[in-house]
């Protein structure tokens, strides 16, 4: 009886305020190390970089940074011959990354989600470039693009298209796109894997029901698969934008930002200003612009997609 009573009547609930705070207080000791590390290694350098953008400093501890207000920004926007090129290239890189590797990744995922012979092998082969270090990919593609000995030009000549041979990395009008092609080769496996994972959550009964209702392949994709992939798409879009804006090592390894700064991007220009030109103020200003640009692209998209989820 006693036991039954105790089972039926739960213990008196603790005061409301206590219940609300307890989970946080319980979690706090576990959170502190991660928060401290995050604060020290991520938040502090970020804020310090913004602070530095208002100073003129060579990076030597023997030299005291000189406060110059908005001078670095004014110089960046009006007197830096490379900044707008780097800004434009970063935007182009984001747009192309959203259009090409993401769409290719989705198509490959759809294809490799079917029952095919050697499906797992093909998935692995397509994903392998994504695990290579970018600097390795850069070295490989530099050779592929070599104007005299490279695979591309030699291949074109072998099939009688020698007139199409180019200085792929030496011509400012195509160098950025040549580097981007290498990036697509490396990056396409990542969205493919995410979309493949997402496709496993598409309810097969919905697909079957749609087919019974007479829906064609495109209609099934448009009205069933794509809505089910929405959470995956949000993740892929955000990661693609962030990865595109911070593209650095592939460009360093293939062109170093050249020729004539034609493949320069914001992340590399920030690094160049700080660590090559010894102008940490200008480098901090470029990094701050990059941060603002990232937030301008990611936050509205995130807000829009979360709003869609609420609906």
């Amino acid at each position: 009886m006693t036991a039954l009573t105790s089972r039926q009547d739960p213990p008196t609930a603790p005061p409301r305020t206590g219940r609300r705070h307890r989970p946080f207080l319980t979690a706090l000791p576990y959170l502190i190390p991660a928060v401290a590390l995050y604060g020290y290694f991520i938040v502090y350098p970020m804020l310090d970089s913004i602070r530095l953008s208002f100073y003129r400093w060579s990076g030597f501890r023997t030299e005291t940074p000189e406060f110059v207000g908005l001078d670095n920004y004014q110089r960046l926007f009006t007197a830096d011959p490379v900044f707008w090129k780097a800004f434009g290239n970063s935007v182009i890189w984001v747009v192309l990354s959203l259009l090409i590797p993401m769409v290719l990744g989705l198509l490959l995922a759809l294809g490799l989600n079917r029952r095919l012979v050697g499906r797992n092998l093909m998935r692995s082969v397509l994903y392998i470039p994504a695990v290579f270090a970018s600097i390795t990919v850069a070295a490989m593609w530099r050779w592929i693009y070599n104007p005299t000995l490279g695979l591309v030009n030699q291949g074109l000549e072998a099939v009688g298209l020698g007139s199409w041979a180019q200085s792929w990395l030496g011509d400012p009008s195509i160098a950025l796109y040549s580097v981007f092609a290498a990036s697509v080769w490396q990056a396409v496996g990542f969205p493919m894997v995410l979309f493949l994972a997402g496709l496993q959550s598409v309810p097969p009964e919905l697909v079957d029901a749609a087919k019974i209702d007479g829906a064609g392949t495109w209609q099934v994709f448009r009205n069933v698969t794509l809505p089910a992939l929405r959470p995956t798409t949000v993740v892929v879009v955000i990661l693609t934008i962030i990865n595109s804006l911070k593209v650095f090592d592939l460009i360093v390894g293939m062109t170093g930002g050249g020729p004539a700064q034609s493949t320069q991007v914001l992340a590399l220009w920030s690094y160049t200003q700080s660590f090559t030109n010894h102008s940490f103020g200008a480098g901090g200003a470029v990094a701050t612009v990059l941060l603002v640009l990232s937030l301008c692209l990611v936050v509205p998209y995130l807000a829009w997609s979360m709003k869609g989820d609420d609906k």
Partner: protein, 420 residues
Amino acid sequence: MRKTTRFAATAGVLALGLTACSSGGDDAAEGGDQTVTVWTLTQEEAQKTAWDALVAGFEEANPGITIKTEERATDAHKDALRQAAGTDSLPDLYRYWGGPGLGGELVTAGVSADLTSFYDEYGWADELTPAALANATQYDGYHGVPFIQATEAVFYNKALFEQAGITELPTSYDDLVAAAQQLKDAGITPMTFGGTVNWHVMRLLDSLIETECGADTADELTTGDGDWGAEACATDAFTELESWGADYLNPGFMGISNDDAAQLFYSGQAAMTIEGDWYGPMAVDGGLPQEDLGIFTFPTGTGRTYGFGELLYLTPAAKSPDAAATFLDYMVSPEGQEKLGTAFASISVNSSVEPAADAPLGADWQAIIGAGEGLYVNNDQNFSTAETTEYWRIQNSVLTGELDPADAGAEFQKWRDANN
């Protein structure tokens, strides 16, 4: 019996302890061991062997002083110095380039100690070649002791010159252009460069500025207050650069590195390149027969040779400055230079040291240096690093046809006015 044994053992331990204390006391009385820390750039195998021989020779001759070497890649080396500046973690000595843009930046930042008193004490100025010494005296006082004095010249393939019917080496700029045309007509790539590393093609532009402007105006433009927009010779130099890029350099040079460009020279696919005295052994190792390898100075018409220096700088925070100076003295001495051999450069910084008999092109280098009437320096050493970045952008914009040579000088001057 047992007591006796214990006593003997205790006495023995005490005696050993006293001996050890006594030994330590003697070292201290002699000044104790001193360690000189040297930060240097990552060394290739032959260079590491030579450096280790130098250190071993010094330590043998100077018991009590130990040299501790720390190697870093170029960028990591620069970063480490910047981060350590003004702290106790600076080494005693560090290897770095000369010139206002590189070494000069560290001198201004207070990372180099004035060595005037050591130069007076050891008489290094009398031992060093004038070109090498000039790297240490370009600031107030003496900063750094020359470690390498690299000389650059045009390397050419004798067999390809012969194949093109070139019988005499160019002695004027017009001769050089004529030779390039002859090579091109014979189906040979006249000159090879790798454009992805901007400093490689820069050697051609530096030499064209020296050619078109003459020594005084070139110096005024590179190290003085010369106006790049107003000097017609700057436009002429950029115009010649564009012409070389369009007609005489390896196809697609802007898209390859200096290493890729070197392969074209090693394999006999290109007839010329501009390199330094370290390049001869590399070309031979790369497969170019030594008998086909030759050099001549770029015919600028000014008589000056082209090159740059690297020095060992003493830091103001050095913990053992006197020991470090002793090491520098050994490094500069004929004995030290013999240990270094030709691993870093074909020509010694010590004027009394003859080039090694087996050094490729050693006698040719000696002849070029002997005939030189001064030195013009690589512009990435003359300019600040930010200025160099812009200089390379202008250079490459001209070469890729994105900038008219007529506007190049003014464009560079505009940047200088806005940033200096």
